[in-house]
Assembly symmetry: C2
Homo-oligomer: 78 residues x 2
Amino acid sequence: MVVDHDAPEPPYLQVAAILRGRIQAGQLPPGARVPSITALMGEFGIARNTARRAIEVLKDEDLVTVRQGWGTFVALPG
Amino acid sequence: MVVDHDAPEPPYLQVAAILRGRIQAGQLPPGARVPSITALMGEFGIARNTARRAIEVLKDEDLVTVRQGWGTFVALPG
DNA sequence: AAATATTTGTACGTATGTATG
DNA sequence: GCATACATACGTACAAATATT
């Protein structure tokens, strides 16, 4: 899966939407580790800051919790 | 005024705090134009993205409103 | 205790796109 | 068309936190 640089939706929002979909579909269940920044870079062909912005979107939605030096995880329900 | 790269507080938070202070002090009253990204770069000796992050902080606090192609303005009270 | 690997955090400089006036 | 200002993205570098060896 690669982002579409020509789409009206910017890459960081595309990636955020994809990850959100995986969470809501249960593909990434609560407590699961979200792919690391480096992994997202490789999977979607995006730069580091772009990957971080996508995670930032999900963090602002309280869908994930991020901890430096550890990783990003799907937020627990409730 | 220049940011301190050796301070524990990162530059983008330093700049956000300074601007927040100007707003709360009335130096930047409601409706006033906040210095542009380019102006902040020059005033604080920071990069473009760093300036934008500072503004982002204030935007998340609803202290300013940002409009593409126009500028950034101190939010109206209420 | 110390070194190493992994992961997130911050910042740089640059380029291009989009919106407004 | 042009100038200004914000929006997004690239690639790179180093710092900080965590866990493991």
